[in-house]
């Protein structure tokens, strides 16, 4: 039964991973940009939802669309100010730029909020529910459900709307897309905003079941990379599935081996997939 419990726990955490990684996959697929600042934006999401709860009494499970919108707008600004200038430059400069943005955001958060760990006590999130010998925290279930709904909404948006078509067109071919009347700059900006909003909302949803501090995002940047590679670089559906897989893999490692080695397993999976199956676990040909 502990086995089933570990599996289900993995799925629950994996749902949030799926949302974070979908954002990164979207940014990579459309902009060919590896966003090293992903976790830093997630961290901003946790603080928005923290202060929303502490100062305004806004429950993160109701406030997340607002925090997503705030981060979307913020990301548009970052895009126009900075990211735009390295579009089309080589990945060397892109990685250094996004790493710079990440450090600056973490540093600013330390200045503004201090380096302390922060947590909120949300009664509904702390409740335990269960059937038989299986137990789950309601917070995990809520965060999982909202994340998964948002990932589905994102894929529907990409698949069914005019903007989604434009985004997919740019992902397919940046050179031909403008010839079809698509404004690539604008599509890139919106893509960046959407990707960051995914990370930020995931942060807002993680806060009730976790804690935050300015460096909380680092591991999520790395996890998203692992997931995006697992899912096939740039595929949003792949990233969603990859998120669930990684969540389960982590929980199994923690259950069968030791909690503290879960991270190592992530990176070993990552290296193995990159070396032997670079198109991802679910992708077709490279």
């Amino acid at each position: 039964m502990a086995f089933v419990q570990a599996f289900l726990n993995g799925l629950l955490v994996g749902g949030v991973y799926a949302l974070i990684a979908s954002g990164m996959a979207l940014i990579f697929g459309v902009m060919r940009l590896v966003n090293f600042a992903h976790g830093a934006f997630l961290m901003l999401g946790t603080y928005l939802s923290y202060y929303g709860w502490v100062l305004l009494g806004l429950n993160p499970y109701f406030g997340f669309p607002l925090w997503g919108a705030v981060l979307f707008a913020f990301a548009l600004g970052v895009y126009w100010l900075l990211v735009r200038r390295v579009m089309g430059a080589n990945d060397f400069l892109q990685i250094l730029l996004t790493e710079g943005i990440s450090l600056a955001l973490i540093g600013l958060a330390q200045l503004l909020f201090g380096a302390d760990y922060r947590q909120i006590n949300l009664p509904v999130a702390n409740r335990i529910t269960g059937f038989g010998s299986l137990h789950f925290s309601v917070g995990y279930i809520l965060s999982f459900a909202v994340s998964l709904l948002l990932v589905i909404a994102l894929t529907q948006f990409l698949g069914r709307t005019e903007m989604g078509r434009a985004i997919r067109a740019v992902a397919q071919n940046r050179t031909v897309a403008p010839l079809m009347g698509i404004r690539v700059e604008r599509v890139s900006a919106i893509t960046f905003g959407l990707g960051i909003a995914c990370a930020g909302i995931a942060g807002a949803l993680l806060l009730p079941i976790f804690w935050t501090n300015p460096t909380v995002g680092g591991p999520y940047t790395l996890k998203s990379f692992v997931i995006v590679v697992l899912g096939g670089m740039g595929s949003v559906q792949g990233a969603a599935l990859g998120g669930l897989v990684l969540g389960v893999a982590e929980q199994f490692t923690a259950y069968t081996w030791a909690d503290r080695y879960a991270e190592v397993v992530n990176f070993i999976i990552f290296l193995l997939v990159l070396l032997f199956r670079p198109q991802g676990l679910f992708g077709g040909k490279a």
Partner: protein, 320 residues
């Protein structure tokens, strides 16, 4: 008037540098210039692989940590002389580079950068969890390489020859055929292969001294601050710092890492006097500024454009 020989700026620089402890008595200033020297070595070491060969390694902290831990643990557990431990660290780092390099160099671009982070993180988590051997997440005291009195001056004089060696190797790489092969790989790996360069081999050859010097800098740094711990000598921050120093000064140049180390150390020190947690903001802002406004680094401000392009070529200008 006869022109001075071409090597005079180098000779002058090292003469002034070596003499510094004689006329600087302030321990704080000496500590500052010690850090400038150590981080210049780190930047130069990164420059071999990141600057000349254009391989964006963000995992150099692995070698830094291996150096620091090898010195500490060989002294503590086997009772070696710490200097023997320093050498052991360099050798182990080179061996680790051989393993990590032969895996990660099969990947290119962002995949390479990510895999170097992954390799460094694997080492960090392992060190953090082998409590019996490494003291785990808490860390431990590192042995002193020198004995009091005048520790600051002795450490400084220990670091200057290290910088001299890294400088000599940089100078050689800069104008050797090896250096040209590395630049060819940076500009276009496929074209380099077409003209008979073996990228896998050349990149490994560049990574070995890079890792060894990084380890030497790491053990010196740990001994000076007499502490090793996963959060000080195995953090992603040091990897980023290595890249930032080289890029800030001027990637693929001899003097770039020295300039970069001076600018970075002084800037973060100045800001530190005003705010408590600022070094990350400073690093981030400097990275952003360098990438967007000064991809050739500070050194490009001092060189004529044509001269600069011939010597280094900003990394961003190629492969648009």
């Amino acid at each position: 008037m006869r022109r001075l020989p071409r090597w005079w700026p180098t000779a002058l620089f090292f003469a002034v540098l070596t003499s510094m402890p004689l006329w600087i008595t302030d321990g704080y200033v000496l500590q500052l210039i010690f850090r400038v020297v150590i981080f210049a070595v780190l930047g130069m070491a990164w420059n071999f692989i990141g600057g000349y060969a254009g391989q964006l390694s963000l995992g150099h902290v692995a070698y830094f940590g291996i150096g620091a831990y090898a010195m500490t643990l060989s002294t503590e557990r086997i009772g070696w002389n710490p200097w023997l431990g320093v050498i052991l660290g360099a050798v182990l780092a080179a061996i680790a580079a051989l393993v990590i390099g032969s895996i990660t160099f099969r990947l290119r671009g962002p995949y390479f950068a990510l895999s170097t982070i992954a390799a460094a993180e694997i080492i960090r988590v392992l060190v953090q969890n082998q409590d019996e051997l490494t003291h785990g997440a808490v860390g431990t005291n590192a042995p002193l390489l020198f004995q009091a009195p005048n520790l600051d001056a002795k450490f400084f004089w220990g670091a200057v020859p290290l910088l001299g060696a890294a400088f000599a190797l940089s100078t050689w790489i800069h104008s050797s055929r090896f250096g040209y092969r590395l630049r060819a790989i940076r500009e276009n790996e496929n074209t380099a292969m077409a003209v008979g360069v073996n990228p896998a081999r050349e990149k490994l050859l560049a990574l070995l001294p890079s890792a060894a010097f990084t380890a030497l800098a790491g053990s010196m740094y740990a001994s000076y601050f007499s502490f090793v711990g996963p959060d000080t000598v195995l953090t992603l921050e040091i990897s980023v710092q290595a890249a930032l120093i080289a890029m800030l000064g001027g990637a693929a140049t001899i003097w770039g890492p020295i300039l970069g180390s001076i600018v970075l150390t002084l800037t973060s020190e100045i800001f530190k006097t005003y705010f408590e947690h600022t070094h990350l903001v400073v690093y981030g802002a400097l990275l952003i500024v360098v990438v967007i406004f000064l991809p050739g680094g500070v050194i490009s401000l001092f060189m004529r454009r044509s001269q600069f392009r011939r010597q280094a070529g900003p990394i961003g200008s190629v492969q648009g």
